[in-house]
């Protein structure tokens, strides 16, 4: 039961924040390339999902899973994208991502006069609160399954 890592992108594709808690294997490319790959892939998946949908789409792309992990996606109305990789025991982290947005991002970044929206998130207060929030999640445990 665990959270592997978390990405926050803005609507232009820049990665505002990245943190990992339990990542055993790196991607083998530089962090910049990894962020570009993540954003680009999600952009394509979302447009693919909406094109191929046999019914009218409501939320669109929510998550994908492999035999080892699941990637959860949440996009806010303002275009902010939250991506979290967890293990397979977490069926739906959408609400968690929504809470991260409203209780952490809005509180500590939007309401912080020094943080410029659209730049990477430097606030230590945000990082530490996010860290305790993640560690406090019911599906988080320091030792991966």
């Amino acid at each position: 039961m665990t959270v592997h890592n978390l990405y926050i992108f803005d609507r232009n594709g820049s990665c505002l924040y990245y943190n990992e808690w339990n990542r055993k294997k790196q991607a083998g490319i530089s962090k910049d390339e990894e962020f570009k790959l993540m954003y680009g892939m999600l952009f394509s998946i979302r447009s693919f999902v909406s094109k191929m949908s046999p019914l009218d789409m409501k939320e669109g792309f929510l998550s994908f899973q492999t035999s080892k992990y699941r990637l959860h996606y949440y996009e806010t109305p303002s275009g902010l994208r939250f991506i979290m990789n967890t293990d397979l025991s977490v069926p739906n982290a959408r609400e968690t991502l929504q809470q991260i947005y409203s209780n952490l991002y809005v509180e500590y970044i939007v309401k912080n006069p020094v943080c410029v929206l659209g730049h990477s998130l430097d606030s230590e207060l945000f990082s530490s609160r996010l860290d305790s929030f993640i560690r406090g999640l019911p599906f988080y445990s320091p030792r991966a399954a």
């Binding site: 309401k111 006069p113 020094v114 430097d122 606030s123 230590e124």
Partner: protein, 163 residues
């Protein structure tokens, strides 16, 4: 009570606007520019404080002495304006008072320690003005300054001017 974020966002923008205006002509801000920005913010706060105190003391009885006025500022006034009471009031009984607020509402979202410490004074100037304006309309001329060492805790020093 209106949503607190309304004032928070407006205050953030006021501070940012005043600093941008002052900087528009040159590249770097020197200390004189910073002092101008701080005093503009403080005088805005002064007028706001004057108005606020008139409204908040509409129904209160008159105050016995200076200490009573300061206690009112620390309790009722601070609660109405900054949503909590001052944690600690110290005085030397000779006109100097130190009000300590350990979770000052305009600093709580900034940081929880030392990060952004150099930016904190910008966001305290307006509040110093509010306190000075409030005291002025209660009959006390004063000089109000604020200092921060660890956010979000800050100390406001009030020196009452004797005639």
């Amino acid at each position: 009570m209106a949503d607190e974020s309304l004032f928070d966002f407006l205050h953030m923008e006021i501070v940012s606007h005043i600093y941008k205006e002052q900087q528009s002509s040159k590249e770097e801000m020197d200390n004189k520019d910073r002092a101008v920005c701080v005093s503009v913010l403080e005088s805005m706060g002064f007028r706001v404080g004057q108005g606020l105190i008139e409204r908040l003391t509409r129904d209160s009885p008159s105050f016995k002495d200076e200490l009573d006025v300061m206690k009112f500022v620390c309790k009722d006034f601070w609660t109405k304006v900054f949503r909590r009471q001052v944690d600690n009031l110290r005085t030397n009984h000779q006109g100097t008072y130190v009000l300590q607020d350990n979770k000052f509402s305009l600093l709580t979202q900034l940081s929880n320690g030392k990060q952004y410490l150099d930016q904190a004074p910008k966001y305290l100037a307006f509040s110093c003005g509010i306190v000075r304006g409030a005291l002025s309309n209660l009959g006390l001329d004063s000089v109000v300054t604020a200092e921060v060492s660890v956010m979000p805790s800050c100390k406001f020093q009030v020196v009452v001017q004797k005639l």
